[in-house]
């Protein structure tokens, strides 16, 4: 099996100054030099793809992925048009673009590719590719920022991208094109007058860079909303690129980071940061938000419905076992512990057979959507959709441990304890997730399951 990976991650600024007039200001020249150094590092790596997430390309209908093999035009910045024009001619990996689009859709995202003559590639992507890949030696792919997307949607976007990086065996460079603090001077300035807009912005920028230099990318992701409130004017909702970049790196906090430059560009905080996957040997991730695998719609933002029921822990189930380490067994601590002496899965030839998978969470054994009864057997209200979603996520984790993935599922037997109450909710989540992949399915009503859950699935997948 091919193994793709992110060989390097970059955070780079978007404004055109380092391309068009680095000589006018020492800081802009430093950014240009740092860009050149990042380019050299990419050249020395075995990277065969540059993936750009640009905050300067907003989208409304989900995410858009550039799929024109050779976008070509002349770019002029909306504000800094007097600095000149940039003629661009880019090389896009269209196979990757289409595959990413498909992976987005199978993970529940709204997504499409765009390939139109004259499409205005955004200034951030143009600047980044001009400086990181001037001769188009490495093909690129560019993705928009959805103006409405929240953290889970942005995380799932990255996971879908990684599905393709892995399945195509790419050695990819992930690039977030963005400012840190993005408050610019609202008046024209002379180049020598440039400085970070305020002391507060500068202090926050330095704090961000301190974290990044320690490789603590996921911590910056976790701080995203706070950072946004402190030093960002509201061009895009929240400090999204860090969510994306962190998820592209498996939400790790122990990367090796290097800040190549930090300078003002017309008041905004511009930095070139390189993050390498080698572990810096320190802290592990501290991941305190939902690790979502699938996107389940726009979270009812238009309705004033409450949040999904909080995760509830139930102690009313049977004793838990460590998964059995038998021949061909596949076990993972990312899936809930078994309730008997059996492994999570077993690989036989080209097939992987999973033991029945429920919604219980690894670690705390909690049940998303809540248990169906309390310790005394009194029925509780629960959310079948949240339970079903959790089952699919557990299946996905077990398959990934086995070197397979959710899109290789071929047959599923589902068990529901209350067909009348739960079938439609279960069916809805199915349609958003496994339904898009297309395994055969049988759904049975049964009297009970060993733990207080409402749904379980028995899965066979290709290795």
């Amino acid at each position: 099996m091919m193994s793709g990976e992110i060989v390097k991650s970059l955070i780079v600024p978007a404004h055109p100054h380092p391309v068009l007039c680095p000589e006018k200001n020492e800081g802009w020249q430093n950014i240009r030099d740092a860009y050149d150094e990042a380019r050299r590092q990419i050249e020395e790596s075995d990277a065969d793809l540059i993936i750009i997430y640009s905050t300067l390309w907003p989208s409304v209908i989900g995410h858009q992925i550039q799929a024109d093999p050779n976008p070509e035009w002349v770019m002029v910045d909306a504000d800094f048009h007097d600095l000149g024009s940039i003629h661009y001619s880019l090389r896009i990996d269209t196979d990757f673009a289409h595959a990413w689009n498909k992976a987005n859709i199978s993970r529940g995202l709204e997504s499409r590719t765009v390939a139109y003559d004259g499409f205005p590639v955004d200034v951030g992507s143009v600047v980044a590719l001009e400086l990181l890949n001037p001769d188009n030696r490495i093909p690129a792919v560019i993705c928009s920022t959805n103006v409405y997307s929240n953290r889970s949607e942005t995380t799932v976007l990255a996971k879908a991208c990684m599905d393709v990086v892995k399945s195509q065996g790419k050695k990819a460079v992930a690039v977030s094109v963005m400012s840190l603090s993005n408050r610019m001077f609202t008046e024209p300035i002379e180049p020598h007058e440039d400085r970070i807009h305020s002391l507060k912005d500068d202090e926050w920028n330095r704090k961000i860079l301190e974290f990044l230099s320690e490789g603590r990318l996921e911590d910056i992701g976790q701080l995203s909303r706070t950072i946004h409130n402190q030093i960002r004017v509201k061009k895009v909702v929240a400090f999204k690129p860090m969510w994306w970049l962190s998820a592209m790196n498996d939400n790790r906090n122990d990367l090796t980071g290097e800040v190549l430059a930090y300078e003002p560009i017309h008041g905004a905080g511009a930095a070139v940061v390189v993050l390498n996957p080698e572990s810096n040997g320190t802290g592990d991730k501290e991941y305190d938000e939902d690790d979502v695998e699938f996107y389940g719609g726009d979270r009812d933002v238009l309705d004033s419905k409450g949040d999904e029921p909080a995760i509830q822990v139930s102690n009313s189930g049977p004793a838990l076992y460590d998964p059995v380490e038998g021949k061909n067994a596949v076990n993972t601590n990312k899936a809930p512990k078994p309730v008997g002496a059996y492994p999570h899965a077993r690989r036989e030839g080209d097939l992987i057979y999973l033991s029945g998978v429920g919604p219980r969470q690894p670690g705390d054994n909690s049940i998303p959507g809540g248990p169906i009864k309390d310790k005394n057997g009194n029925p509780l209200d629960y959310d079948i959709k949240a339970q079903t979603r959790a089952v699919v996520e557990n299946i996905s984790r077990i398959l990934e441990e086995a070197g397979s993935s959710l899109d290789k599922v071929i047959d599923v037997t589902s068990f529901l304890v209350d067909m009348d109450r739960d079938f439609s909710g279960y069916n809805e989540v199915w349609a958003e997730t496994l339904g898009k992949i297309g395994p055969t399915r049988t759904t049975l009503a049964i009297r009970a399951l060993p733990t207080p859950i409402a749904v379980e699935m028995k899965v066979i997948a290709k290795a």
Binding site: S59, V76, A78, D82, D117, N146, R183, F185, T186
Partner: protein, 298 residues
């Protein structure tokens, strides 16, 4: 020289869907129609302006977003292709238009003398934003009048709706003064929607009107309230309520176009005419006209 004047001011929203649905020859994509309430609303506006003489269209569009002050196109001949980065499937429009650089510069100079941050855009490679093109095309598809294209200074992003409005009120006064001194008759367009919450999915085909409606009741109430204030000449109240409107309806008037327009017309107490209202992927759009030329000497 006779004094210049504003012959009419219009709220002229710019969803590319309208051009797409009209199938003009300049636009590549082809549709089966759709959004007739709005397209026929534009038809009524064009009809209403049919016998009104004017020299220039002055338009402020929220899709030329500038963060370093307000900018004006200062290139006389602009011809290129405009592709909407958000709806490239609907709008790939070949334009060839003339800018009234003299008037643009006059407004620029006047605003500058009032202390505003302004800049002329003189790069010949610059592409005119699709908001400007859609609004101008829907109002005057003949493209036989020069235009003045004004950017949307994102004052709101940096400060607040109140500060943004202060800037736009000043820009409106400067626009009116420069027009008066130019001796030209001008049609003013504020290119924006009202409530601005989109659906995040698109139907297939996009013109499937069975799926088109406002995103929420609250958005509808805001749109109707704003239209009613315009219809009853309560311009000052619109300005007073703008902060709540922008916040609660995520209104596209946050770009300043509507405030600029009302200010240029000296906060009119005369009623505006509603030519059409409709939603476009859930956002509220009204085509309104203030027929200043009928108001007599001001």
């Amino acid at each position: 020289m006779a004094k210049g004047s504003i012959v009419a001011g219009c709220l002229a929203p710019h969803p590319p869907h309208l051009v797409y649905a009209d199938n003009p020859e300049q636009n590549e994509p082809v549709s089966e129609g759709g959004w007739e309430q709005l397209r026929w609303g534009y038809e009524r506006l064009r009809d209403s302006l049919k016998d009104v003489e004017y020299d220039v269209i002055v338009v402020l569009s929220p899709h030329w977003q500038t963060y370093v002050g307000t900018h004006f196109i200062g290139v006389e001949k602009c011809a290129s292709k405009s592709v909407d980065p958000v709806f490239p499937n609907l709008f790939r429009f070949n334009y060839d238009l003339t800018i009234d650089v003299d008037l643009a510069r006059a407004i620029h100079d006047q605003a500058k003398s009032e202390g505003m941050s302004v800049k002329m855009m003189e790069n010949p490679d610059f592409r005119v934003d699709y908001g400007t093109i859609v609004s101008c095309h829907m109002v005057r598809p003949e493209w036989d009048k020069p235009i003045v294209s004004i950017s949307s200074n994102r004052g709101l992003s940096y400060y607040s709706v109140e500060v943004m409005q202060e800037m736009m009120l000043e820009l409106g006064r400067s626009t009116a003064k420069a027009i008066e001194e130019s001796g030209k008759k001008c049609l003013l367009l504020a290119s924006n929607s009202l409530s601005h919450r989109h659906f995040v999915t698109e139907t297939n085909p996009p013109e499937d009107m069975s799926k088109e409606h406002i995103t929420s009741h609250a958005m509808h109430l805001w749109d109707m309230r704003m239209i009613d204030l315009m219809r009853s000449g309560k311009s000052q109240q619109i300005i007073n309520e703008m902060p709540e409107f922008c916040e609660q309806a995520i209104a596209e008037s946050d770009g300043g176009a509507l405030t600029w327009l009302l200010s240029a017309m000296d906060i009119p107490s005369q009623p505006a005419t509603l030519h059409g209202y409709g939603t476009i992927i859930g956002t509220g759009n009204a085509i309104m006209e203030w027929p200043c030329h009928t108001w007599g000497e001001q």
